[in-house]
């Protein structure tokens, strides 16, 4: 017998359930007076640096129905490619951009719409630059462990073609599931939990 490593096990995940809004966005579900405002929005203010863009997102289940009780959190670098986090060692991020957002879908349509800035590029561990992207974390009733994916930007074809994460996907025909097409200032990102167009999710 060798010495014990003494590691703990991560607490097991459980679904966020149908009432996740009560805990994370109480004002959104008409519980007012506890918190002055829900956390995680808006992402930008008048002083935030960078190009303003809008994102419209829907998450579809295996029958093609948009989830109306889903909650998505977003995490991204600022316009210079810096994260507003103590673990960011390359410099100070824009103080007017926290980089984290929290968005419940519209309870009737399932749509999520938010404004942000287009993130700058961030390096992969080997130094190659990744294409601009927003990290997403998706929780809802019926999802046992929060789903991780990324949204890439449709007008960054050259950067996307060289992105170290996208280029390592075995099934290159699935890259399109991670890229949001641009129309004007708006990117539309449809996430499919199942089916022919199932979005690539990450084990990270």
């Amino acid at each position: 017998m060798a010495q014990q490593l003494g590691r703990l096990k991560e607490s097991a995940s459980q679904t966020a359930g149908p009432y996740v809004h009560i805990g994370l966005t109480p004002n959104f579900c008409d519980i007012s007076g506890i918190y002055p405002e829900d956390l995680g929005q808006p992402l930008v203010n008048d002083k935030t640096k960078g190009e303003r863009v809008a994102v419209v997102m829907r998450i579809f289940d295996g029958t093609g129905t948009p989830l109306k009780d889903v909650l998505v959190e977003t995490w991204q670098a600022d316009a210079e490619g810096l994260y507003n986090s103590p673990s960011e060692t390359r410099g100070a991020a824009d103080p007017n951009f926290q980089g984290w957002g929290r968005f419940p879908s519209n309870m009737e349509t399932g749509e999520i719409r938010f404004e942000t800035v287009k993130p700058g590029r961030v390096p992969f561990p080997d130094g190659r630059m990744m294409a601009p992207h927003i990290s997403l974390w998706i929780v809802a009733r019926g999802i046992n462990l929060g789903l991780s994916t990324r949204m890439y930007f449709g007008d960054e074809a050259k950067a996307n073609d060289a992105d170290p994460v996208l280029t390592r996907l075995e099934h290159q025909n699935r890259i399109a599931t991670l890229i949001a097409p641009r129309d004007g200032d708006t990117y539309t990102f449809d996430i499919h939990l199942q089916g022919d167009r199932e979005t690539v999710f990450f084990d990270i």
């Binding site: 703990l8 459980q14 679904t15 956390l39 929060g146 990270i204």
Partner: protein, 246 residues
């Protein structure tokens, strides 16, 4: 041991056999909401090892007291009064400071304050059902609430959720993000629940059951339950002759 400087290493790989799989037919909603293809792994980048931080200035005075934070002046929520406390640790056993912990629950009758909840148990006018706090420098957190009731839910024709409190926890990196549920020691309903049963390993379920702690009880006021939460551990990076974080 406390960390003087922020850590920048990647996180331990998640043990996906310990967590519930995506597809768990006993929990029917998972059937059309579970990805079918294998999730893709890649080495952690700054996008994964960084994460948002929250300052104590977001906290209101009653954010950690669900008995009072929605109650009319001079009144309080109905139900057995309890204190829930514990630590947020990582898999190395290091207490995690400054992490935002959010919680939500049904009232003592098992009813949520949500327009989608049609259970016939009544709403409590003095109970909203959510709270939050931020861990101290050693990873400790605590809040006061009432014991939530068990409630029926549409899955099988007679499925009930055991009494539980939902928890949302931030780590220091975005991939430590976790939502889970806390159950109560001694509740026989835990072992009947299809959502609990999505967890394959009994020891992992036991890790979600808070222990009654009579020593932490406030006499003539509230009983106490201890609930520790473990987030993913972080790989050390060698820094000036020592492994940071160890």
């Amino acid at each position: 041991m406390r960390n003087d400087r922020p850590e920048t290493g990647g996180f331990f790989q998640r043990d996906r056999l310990w967590h519930p799989p995506a597809l768990t037919p006993g929990y029917k909603t998972s059937v059309v909401r579970s990805p079918q293809r294998a999730p893709i792994a890649f080495p952690h980048t700054l996008s994964e090892v960084t994460g948002p931080t929250f300052g104590r200035q977001i906290l209101g005075e009653l954010d950690n007291d669900l008995t009072l934070n929605y109650a009319r002046p001079g009144e309080s929520a109905m139900g057995p009064r309890i204190i829930v406390y514990g630590r947020v640790l990582d898999e190395r056993g290091v207490g995690m400071s400054n992490v935002l912990v959010e919680f939500w629950q049904a009232n003592a009758g098992g009813r949520y304050r949500h327009k989608k909840d049609g259970y016939l148990a009544p709403l409590d006018p003095n109970f909203g059902g959510c709270g939050r706090t931020i861990t101290d420098e050693d990873g400790n957190y605590a809040f006061r609430t009432i014991m939530p009731g068990a409630y029926p839910w549409p899955n099988g024709i007679n499925d009930w959720r055991p009494a539980h409190i939902h928890f949302s926890v931030f780590g220091h990196g975005f991939v430590q993000r976790l939502i889970t549920q806390m159950y109560f020691e001694g509740d026989p309903m835990i072992w009947q629940c299809p959502i609990v049963a999505t967890i394959p390993d009994r020891r992992a379920v036991e890790g979600l059951i808070a222990a009654l702690d009579m020593q932490a009880t406030v006499p003539m006021d509230a009983r106490a339950y201890k609930f520790d939460i473990v987030l993913r551990g972080r790989r050390s990076t060698l820094f000036e002759n020592r492994l940071e974080g160890n």
